[in-house]
């Protein structure tokens, strides 16, 4: 035991160029896939990027 907490290994998927209209259903779908974190980044007025984290 060295007292340090072992960091969790993760897998990241980044889906770009998502139309705003698709954003909500995609978030829901990623949650069903077991995503532990979802970040939304707006690329421009219409397009978004989702950065999704999964535990490994």
């Amino acid at each position: 035991m060295n007292g340090k907490k072992k960091k969790q290994a993760v897998r990241i998927e980044e889906l770009t160029d998502i139309p705003a209209s698709e954003l909500e259903s995609l978030e829901e779908s990623y949650r069903l896939d077991g995503a532990i974190d979802i970040k939304k980044v707006q690329q421009d007025d219409d397009l978004w990027t989702l950065i999704v984290t999964f535990a490994v």
């Binding site: 960091k7 998927e13 889906l15 077991g34």
Partner: protein, 276 residues
């Protein structure tokens, strides 16, 4: 030639300024090192082997403690010199640069100004070179900290050995550990340890972000077919996930259905799963 003599004089002056990062010790270190000399004789191992029982154990401990003390004394002198040299260099050369710059500024003769300015540049260049190559710039403090940590680690190992019998921790083993203790107090040992730690951290960081998948949103006919397939029956989502595993694909169902890169495979999945 005249400006060269100015530089030389300033360097001599710089060598005179002395500030120590550690307090002066009252004892005579060289005299103490001389008194420890018998424990560094070539015959310590044969003397040790001639002894029996408690005598052997106490002789082992005596030799080990004497050699540890000698290593500590040399280490103290090394750190002190390192600290003083660095300070002297900084104070001396900084003063030289300021003086030469000032002399260049007040001089009314343009030729003399040029000489003083070039001399200042020379001293600045020399200082930068020595700092970088010999004292690793401002990392000196970190290196000393690393050396202290390395030494403590080996010292704990030696102390653990000294609590064991002479059969379990013979003098030869102890001497090998003392050599490691000496090496732990060198700049090369500190750099090696820092590099080792940095390598381990880099490996850990790479492991965390090793699996990153990036793709553009791109819906196809197969996307709609498969979306209907997985929403009709919740179990079908798992069937599609299992199919992805069979294809040795590490991707979520959602990304598979919407990333451009998987367009061809989506058509294949639709053909194999939905028409069954």
């Amino acid at each position: 030639m005249r400006y060269l003599s100015v530089i030389f004089t300033l360097y001599l002056l710089s060598a005179c300024s002395s500030l120590s990062g550690t307090p002066h010790r009252s004892e005579d270190l060289q005299a103490e090192l001389v008194s420890l000399k018998p424990y560094f004789a070539a015959n310590v191992l044969s003397l040790y082997n001639q002894k029996r029982g408690d005598d052997k154990l106490s002789y082992r401990n005596e030799v080990v403690m004497a050699r540890l003390r000698a290593v500590d004394l040399y280490y103290y002198m090394f750190i002190n010199e390192l600290s003083e040299d660095h300070k002297n260099l900084n104070i001396g050369t900084d003063t030289s640069v300021m003086l030469l710059g000032a002399m260049g500024a007040v001089s009314t003769v343009s030729g003399t100004q040029a000489i003083y300015s070039s001399a200042a540049a020379l001293v600045t260049g020399a200082k930068a070179s020595v700092d970088k190559n010999v004292f690793y710039e401002s990392t000196l403090q970190a290196l000393v900290g690393q050396m202290n940590a390395n030494r403590k680690q080996v010292l704990a190992q030696i102390y653990a050995g000294l609590s064991a019998s002479e059969q379990d921790y013979p003098l030869l083993n102890a001497l090998i550990d003392i050599e490691a203790y000496f090496q732990a107090g060198t700049l090369l040992g500190a750099i090696a340890k820092i590099n080792e730690a940095a390598g381990q951290q880099k490996g850990a960081a790479e492991a965390e972000i090793a699996n990153t998948l990036k793709g553009k949103f791109f819906k196809t006919e197969a996307t709609d077919i498969l979306k209907s397939f997985i929403t009709d029956k919740p179990a079908n989502r798992q069937r599609l996930a299992d199919w992805l595993k069979q294809q040795k694909l590490t991707v979520s169902v959602t990304s598979f259905l919407h990333m451009k890169e998987f367009a061809a495979l989506r058509a294949q999945a639709a053909a194999e799963l939905v028409t069954q």
